[in-house]
Symmetry: C2
Subunit: 469 residues, 2 copies
């Protein structure tokens, strides 16, 4: 590998705007936004077109240069951070940020990989359509990264993950050829569905350069509620009740713990909306594109029935947009209170919805036994079976000492997840963070098929080495 010759060729191909080696410009791309991972690179490439991206990847094949695809660099598992070799090329997609087409008859949008998620949401809204992918980082994450990690977020319950929103992809393969699977068809059974390979592969099989995505009718009405649960178990019948009553238009069904609300109040002075303080509350949102459906009434009625059935102990409907914002602000407050409380050890897990109460009870008890001073903060997308099961350091304790417990705590939590046939990464991916645990917990047959796919598409192992597998 002749790095200097590669750098020269890449500069000649992409020009000074498209190929960067200055240390200051590289620096922000060499670490993740939580600053947990740090790497080195032989350059940062910013292709401006699919042709440029393809020519660049051909060049990396020719010079045998490893490639780390990078989007908005907002991932939580270190998938977009290069290793320490210094021989890797980072390919950031931010210059490919055009919306190529928007079709309201077909309800599709074709976007380049570097489009910011919010830009796509806004383009859809401007056409009186809705693009459902929504997550905290939406102001800076890129759709290419969302697809490479099969991002989830707050609307998965109704609309599914990024995968479910994708009709087609354009991908530069490791040999530099372009796979044009950028179809906008809603149905196509002509052979293997190749786009599926690259969604969620975290850049290990190719570089996503564009995508065609589904749009949905824009909402005409939205209803938001807050409800105190009689017990964690009661979340399950409430979910089924509300899914049916809202015509399966429940968009969010978020579980929040009393401890989390207390933290939000303590750190950000956020008011508790209910008069009582149950152990668990639900933040619920339903939305409809039909002007003929009174979704607020439907939600309120169903919550009334849940109250009568002793599933919830109290509840309120947001009566204004400000009230709605305040309810969502509480959830955000829980997320943002975590760093204020010191170090935390986070788990992004999923179990079958029915197993949530048992998992939480069992894993909590085991943690209380083995790590009695760690503080459990468990919240999340309970409608998807997905919990953020986080441990905060003991009050006033030493952050570094607490983080030293991470391998043992991870192991304990993930073993309980595995016992319930759950997932150790519901939406954040594997990256570098969960590579060891994946090897430990995934079946050897599944790992074998993954390795066979990797060898078939990237025989030299140049794409995002050290990630996932």
């Amino acid at each position: 590998m002749d790095i200097a010759a590669f750098q020269q060729a890449a500069l000649a191909l992409l020009g000074p705007k498209g190929f960067i080696t200055a240390a200051d410009d590289l620096a922000p791309h060499l670490t993740d936004w939580r600053k947990l991972y740090h790497g080195k690179a032989c350059g940062l490439a910013l292709p401006a077109s699919t042709d440029e991206a393809a020519a660049l990847i051909k060049l990396t094949a020719q010079y045998n240069v490893p490639v780390v695809p990078q989007g908005g660099n907002t991932g939580l598992s270190g998938a977009a951070t290069p290793d320490q070799s210094g021989q890797t090329l980072i390919v950031n997609m931010k210059r490919m940020n055009s919306i190529r087409a928007l079709d309201t008859a077909n309800d599709t949008i074709i976007v380049e990989a570097g489009c910011i998620l919010q830009q796509i949401q806004e383009a859809a809204a401007a056409a009186d359509r809705f693009f459902p992918l929504s997550l905290t980082a939406e102001g800076s994450c890129q759709i290419g990264g969302n697809l490479a990690t099969n991002a989830g977020g707050i609307n998965v319950l109704k609309y599914g993950n990024a995968r479910a929103l994708t009709l087609g992809l354009e991908v530069v393969l490791p040999d530099g050829s372009v796979l044009d699977a950028l179809t906008t068809l809603h149905k196509d059974n002509t052979g293997y569905d190749l786009k599926q390979l690259f969604i969620g592969a975290e850049g290990t099989l190719g570089l996503i350069t564009a995508a065609s995505l589904k749009l949905f009718p824009a909402f005409r009405a939205r209803a938001t509620a807050f409800a105190g649960l009689a017990s964690l178990e009661a979340a399950i019948p409430v979910l089924a009740r509300l899914r049916a009553a809202t015509a399966d238009q429940l968009v969010s069904f978020e579980l929040l713990p009393r401890f989390g609300l207390d933290l939000a109040q303590k750190n950000f002075n956020l008011r508790q909306p209910l008069d009582i303080a149950p152990d668990w509350v639900l933040l619920i949102e339903a939305a409809t594109p039909s002007a003929d459906f009174d979704i607020a009434l439907a939600l309120e009625r169903a919550l009334g029935e849940a109250l009568e059935a002793d599933e919830i102990v109290d509840g309120l409907m947001a009566e204004s947009d400000a009230q709605r914002q305040a309810l969502w602000g509480l959830r955000e407050g829980i997320v943002n209170a975590q760093p204020k409380e010191g170090a935390s050890i986070k788990h992004d897990i999923a179990v079958p919805v029915a197993s949530i109460p048992a998992f939480v009870t069992e894993a909590s008890a085991a943690l209380a036994r083995d790590f009695p001073t760690a503080r459990l903060l468990c919240f999340g997308h309970v409608g998807d079976g997905n919990l953020h099961f986080n441990l905060l350091q003991p009050k006033g304790g030493d952050p570094a000492a607490f983080l030293g417990l991470a391998p043992a705590i991870n192991r304990l939590v993930h073993d309980h997840v595995a016992a319930h046939k759950g997932s150790i990464s519901a939406e954040h991916g594997i990256g570098q963070l969960r590579r060891g645990e994946l090897q430990r917990l995934k079946s050897p047959v599944a790992l074998g098929v993954m390795r066979a796919l990797k060898a078939a598409l990237d025989p030299d192992g140049r794409f995002n080495p050290g990630k996932v597998l």
Copy 2:
């Protein structure tokens, strides 16, 4: 390959109920239900469990015996019919027909591959849930076949193809190992989503033995309408209007041509529901699980607006279940009239929804020019962009002579499909039927990736040889 030794070993493994070589018992498995394809086999295996299936496939690997997976044998592309070599083993899944689990909290069902589709629909209904996959063959097709072909049907518009309904799969790989990806998780980003490989692969990459599938809230109300279109173009704004008005709970949006209704009337004496006879009509169905949503009112209002906007020229709502059945009977009458009219050359195509009018106009004109006596019968799932674009033989003409035109007519139709970036197989798959056209029209890069996947998973090419690729 020692066929006699393999037969003896298979018989010893599966017993006389599980391994059959008698010609009479084999016969129905050697041809497709349309009797277009005919093959030979060295035996019919009927494994009764995943363990048996895995041991059997290990045996086929050991003796180098090719395998044709077969479900209800209702496919339309010849994917389940063996070749003429006589060395192939047919593995039919009908003895693996248990429903392993049904979870109303998680809204999932785990079924074995040999379950009849209708059996799954009924199990869901008995638990007050809805399983959306629905197609003409539902009384005899098996879910394993539905998944292997990524089946579509009449509810795709709201619920997606078989792929969209699948959370997990259990698959016996060509080497006989069992891939247990039978998760019921709604979210799981732990590595490549391996189930996607086998859905729609038509048995060329492995044998599906079980699946976990999504359930939905049962319907509380349904509304069905029939509307005469002002023009084919008008179907597009009507679709957008109704999707929004019904809260995106439009289940079916079927286009029917005047010629088709005439055929249904002529052959089955089915009454035309509208007083006028527009060139195109829509059969529309919306359904909701919410008792609080008057979906019939919403649909009727939206159709009223479509009438005022001159998008439709007449319409009616089904006022009873009998009327609803009669409307759907008309669609069925169109399908069933085809064989009564002699030979037909069928195309199962998709284009972007917006391109439907242009595609129909252009392809019709080209057909009228080159094949002026062929009678076009075009109907289908217009909400998915999916048309059954069929040519019926000239009245009183010679069926065989007409069928001789199939290659030229296929080519003409598929070229028009390709010009609109469409699909030559929207829901029926490739099988043997479209293998040549796939090679002609799919991009060399995509075909290359497909071949790489095939080589990675089935290096000896033993699984469903001669199909798809």
